[in-house]
């Protein structure tokens, strides 16, 4: 009987080997897929059990955790100034995440490679694993000012402020906004109700108007056309068409100035005057003269047509649209037709002018820190492109100073020279039925720019067809500039 017993032994060995081979397949080869499977609640549970890192502005957290005392879900994500920072932080809930909660998730949940050594020491010392901290470039005072200005007046729109020399985003506001605390709660019923309400809201509070939506830039776009013109032989003293309107080439439609006013004294005008008074006719004509290629080139140098822009939140690509005929080029020259920009793009444009033509990569994260606030990584200023020469930048600055002086409205800062441009952009299927968007882009101080800002008030804050960038958007922009310059 010994031969069969030996064979039985061999059989059992083979059975056990088969089990081990199969286990190798599951635990070594298949494991990544199993771990990442959406129905595998282990991964998420593990993450919920770990103390997620804070998102910091100044020295205070704008996203942090509170201990629940519960064993399965020991931490709940809380946002001390929820609505103010919601467009940046996004929200973190057991079922989803947006904003920086998503973009910086590996750091916050502790799985990022830069936290590897830290994780290893946690493992050895038996400390509870914690996520890393993300410090923002945001200036608390500017962010709060921008938020207050928008919400106090019940405005729909966005404010973006940049530090021209570095690309640091100093404020990023989108209104109406939402309270991420409602979405991060562990109470699943309350969460579901809040989600449903926010998604049903026709003002779309979950949309980030500062970076995720594009709108026609209106007259603020004339800065771009002017930059291209200055680069192509124009100067601030070049004579331009002062007529109150011009017929679009190849059509019976005419392109009028605002209220059909003539430019300058009506006989002759300079490029500087055209910008100061925001005349449409000369910029339509200049655009037509430069042609779509030159405009597209200038736009790309300023950051247009970049679908991969991340701050690290992903930014919608600003576009000139197709300019198939001269009429389209004329209309595009005044920021209408199919030209669409994000408030961030407009802020980048004026920041580039303020920074002598050098466009810096915009970013909202300044540093990555360990849970003990030791430095892991620092995001350094990075020049994206020299968009135009310092001379062009200086000429544009001159125009913007003149424009600011021409613009009315409240909020001028005593002793500070602001360089700005307003915009009032028609939009919608029938522009006579919808109130125009009000824009204001600016930087200050003009002689040594510290802050650049773009303000968009959708539908002019619904104060009627008389809404202009100067009346509605400029006071907000000036207040934010003031907060940034320490004046208040």
């Amino acid at each position: 009987m010994n031969t069969p017993i030996r064979r039985v032994a061999l059989t059992v060995m083979l059975l056990i080997v088969a089990l081990m081979v199969n286990l190798t397949y599951i635990q070594v080869i298949w494991s990544d897929e199993l771990r990442a499977h959406p129905r595998n609640s282990r991964t998420l549970n593990e993450e919920l059990a770990r103390q997620r890192g804070d998102i910091i502005v100044g020295n205070e957290a704008v996203a942090t955790v509170e201990e629940t005392g519960d064993n399965l879900y020991p931490y709940e994500r809380v946002y001390p100034d929820g609505p103010v920072y919601a467009p940046i932080t996004g929200y973190y809930s057991p079922i989803g995440r947006t904003g920086l909660e998503r973009a910086e998730d590996p750091v916050l949940n502790g799985s990022d490679d830069r936290l590897f050594v830290r994780r290893l020491s946690d493992l050895i010392t038996g400390r509870d694993a914690r996520g890393g901290m993300v410090e923002l470039t945001i200036d608390r005072r500017m962010q709060e000012t921008a938020y207050q200005m928008m919400t106090d007046r019940g405005l729909t729109g966005a404010v973006v402020a940049l530090e021209p020399s570095t690309g640091r985003i100093l404020s990023l506001v989108s209104t109406p906004t939402f309270d991420p605390n409602e979405l991060s709660t562990l109470d699943s019923e309350a969460r579901a109700a809040a989600t449903e309400e926010l998604e049903a809201d026709e003002n779309r509070p979950l949309h980030n108007r500062a970076i995720s939506e594009t709108q026609p830039p209106g007259s603020t776009f004339k800065l771009l056309v002017a930059a291209a013109a200055l680069d192509n032989g124009y100067s601030n003293d070049s004579e331009v068409n002062a007529a109150p309107s011009v017929q679009l080439p190849g059509s019976s439609v005419s392109l009028p100035n605002y209220n059909n006013n003539p430019c300058g004294n009506g006989q002759r005008a300079t490029l500087l005057q055209a910008m100061e008074e925001s005349c449409n006719v000369p910029f339509g004509e200049i655009a037509g003269e430069l042609g779509p290629e030159v405009l597209q080139e200038q736009a790309e140098a300023l950051g247009f047509s970049d679908p991969d822009l991340e701050i690290p939140l992903s930014v919608a690509s600003s576009e000139l649209g197709e300019m198939a005929d001269s009429a389209a080029v004329y209309q595009s020259g005044i920021g209408q037709r199919d030209v669409r920009v994000t408030p961030l793009q407009n802020a980048m444009m004026v920041a580039t002018i303020a920074n002598e033509g050098s466009r810096m990569e915009p970013h909202v994260v300044s540093r990555i820190l360990t849970p003990e606030l030791d430095l892991l990584d620092e995001i350094n200023p990075d020049e994206a492109e020299q968009a135009f020469s310092p001379q062009v930048a200086q000429d544009l600055t001159e125009m913007m100073i003149a424009s600011e002086q021409h613009t009315g409205g409240e909020g001028q800062i005593p002793g500070v020279t602001i360089a700005s441009k307003t915009g009032t952009a028609q939009w919608g299927v029938d522009p006579s039925e919808t109130n125009p968007h009000a824009w204001y882009v600016a930087f200050a101080p003009a002689e040594d720019p510290q802050v650049a800002v773009a303000v968009l008030v959708e539908a002019g804050g619904d104060i009627g067809a008389g809404a202009t960038g100067g009346r509605v958007a400029a006071p907000i922009g000036r207040a934010v500039l003031g907060a940034g310059l320490g004046g208040g």
Partner: protein, 482 residues
């Protein structure tokens, strides 16, 4: 070998002056047991540290219970089976210890979710106490495994009744989790099938030994294979068919598979003919083809086996349990999440049928491979005992006892890891469950007895008078018959 009774094992011989010195290796056993206790305690500390962040008295209780019980078992072996294989008990002890840790760990998770949840580990320790008592009693009273051969038919009869009994009881007393395999009175319950397994094994071994000569002599050749005469095998096949039939009827797929494989192997070892294995496997294949459309629960398991991730929401019996098991194993990966840091309670029945997945999540592939190797070593020591023992009954019984552990591990682990369709049976020594634990300690006690018989020094044969070779022998005068 064909004689079931060996004349040399007369106890009276022990007094003879010079038995050859065979080391008993009992101290090796003690050392291995101590090693197992240390491993188990370390694992226990890790679980507590990760779960509670503090060490509780339960830790001392678990450790003390483990040491005390196996200390007693060791002393019993020392007294009644001193020459037994020194590795079998420590392997069983270590597996039992790993199981205790896993159950305790699942208890902690359950208790965290529901403060009223009782500690299963304490009940398991209770069952261990009963098991060890039974273990000691068997060593003390059976003494020689060959005694069991005399009760072959009795064992077979009792075994069949035990197996069939739950089928006749009302569902309230016998049914749980789809299978009708319990006898439950009040709060306590046992699964008679676990004991029937061993009783029937004794029957098969004694029957096969008594008929062994017939198989090898009588028979005919067909298709190049030797087939024994059917009538020689009839009682055996009848018992086999009855047990498998009963189990299928009770919807206990795993145990029926276990019986099927066990009997096949025992017949193969007894007859030394591969033909029986071929016939058996062919019948099995035919049986599967017939059963597949007939039994819905079987079909569901096969479907879940083929596409577990796709059937998470199947309405006719989803693959949730299997998928959770795969998720656990996959999440654990090569080295595991660490003892006490996984989420094994997400798998339904993690403390019984799917305990290997719960273990695999926290100690990873490396850990499960170690557990599987432990099982393999245990089986190998059992089969080695079968090789070494001199009587046929012992050989057959030891083969059966050892093989059934291996087969059971294959079925339960293969089921939980999607190597084969999953069927509900317990992992020997690891899983929570009194009947399983009791039966497996009986099994180990029997293996130790056989192994003791195998390694016990042979009393020196009576010195025969020196005889000259026949060729050189002188002739003798023989008295002439008158």
């Amino acid at each position: 070998m064909s004689s079931p009774v060996d004349a040399t094992s007369n106890p009276g011989q022990a007094a003879t002056p010079s038995p050859p010195a065979v080391p008993t290796r009992r101290n090796t056993e003690l050392l291995m047991l101590a090693f197992a206790a240390i491993l188990v305690t370390i694992a226990n500390v890790l679980v507590e540290a990760n779960q509670e962040q503090e060490l509780s008295t339960q830790l001392l209780y678990n450790g003390a219970a483990f040491l005390a019980l196996f200390g007693i078992a060791h002393l019993a072996v020392r007294k009644w089976a001193p020459y037994a294989d020194p590795l079998i008990l420590p392997f069983a002890a270590l597996l039992n210890g790993v199981g205790l840790i896993a159950i305790y760990r699942i208890d902690l998770a359950d208790a965290a979710a529901d403060p009223d949840h009782g500690y299963l580990v304490n009940r398991q320790i209770g069952w261990m106490v009963i098991s060890v008592v039974l273990f000691v009693l068997i060593l003390a009273f059976v003494k020689d495994h060959r005694l069991l051969a005399r009760f072959g038919y009795t064992c077979g009869f009792v075994g069949l009744i035990a197996l069939a009994l739950p089928g006749f009881l009302p569902a309230s007393m016998s049914s749980a989790g789809g299978a009708k395999i319990w006898i439950r009175i009040g709060g306590a319950g046992i699964q008679p099938g676990e004991f029937a397994k061993i009783l029937l094994m004794i029957f098969f071994a004694s029957f096969l030994v008594s008929k062994r000569d017939l198989f090898t002599v009588a028979g005919r050749r067909f298709l190049g294979m030797d087939f024994p005469r059917m009538r020689d095998m009839a009682p055996m096949l009848l018992a086999w068919a009855a047990s498998v039939g009963v189990l299928v009827f009770e919807r206990d797929l795993g145990t029926s598979l276990l019986f099927f494989g066990l009997v096949l192997v025992m017949i193969y070892v007894a007859t030394e003919r591969v033909s029986w294995v071929v016939i058996g496997l062919s019948l099995f294949a035919i049986g599967c083809v017939i059963a597949y459309p007939l039994f819905n629960h079987l079909r569901v398991r096969v479907l879940n086996w083929m596409d577990p991730l796709g059937r998470l929401d199947a309405t006719d019996g989803d693959s949730f349990q299997l998928v959770q098991s795969l998720f656990g194993l996959g999440t654990g990966g090569i080295f595991g999440t660490g003892l006490g840091s996984g989420r094994p309670t997400l798998i339904p029945a993690a403390e019984t049928d799917f305990i290997i997945s719960a273990i695999g999540e926290e100690i990873g592939f490396v850990g499960v491979a170690a557990v599987l190797l432990l099982y393999l070593l245990l089986v190998m020591r059992g089969l080695r005992t079968a090789l070494a023992v001199r009587d046929s009954f012992g050989k057959l019984l030891a083969s059966g006892l050892a093989f059934i552990i291996g087969l059971q591990v294959f079925i339960v682990v293969g089921g939980a890891t999607r190597l084969i369709p999953s069927t509900g049976i317990t992992a020997p020594f690891l899983s929570y469950g009194g009947s399983s634990l009791l039966a497996n300690y009986i099994l180990v006690a029997l293996l130790l007895l056989i192994s003791h018989a195998a390694r016990k020094p042979q009393p020196p044969s009576k010195p025969r008078p020196q005889q000259a070779p026949l060729a050189e022998a002188h002739t003798e005068m023989v008295a002439r018959p008158t």
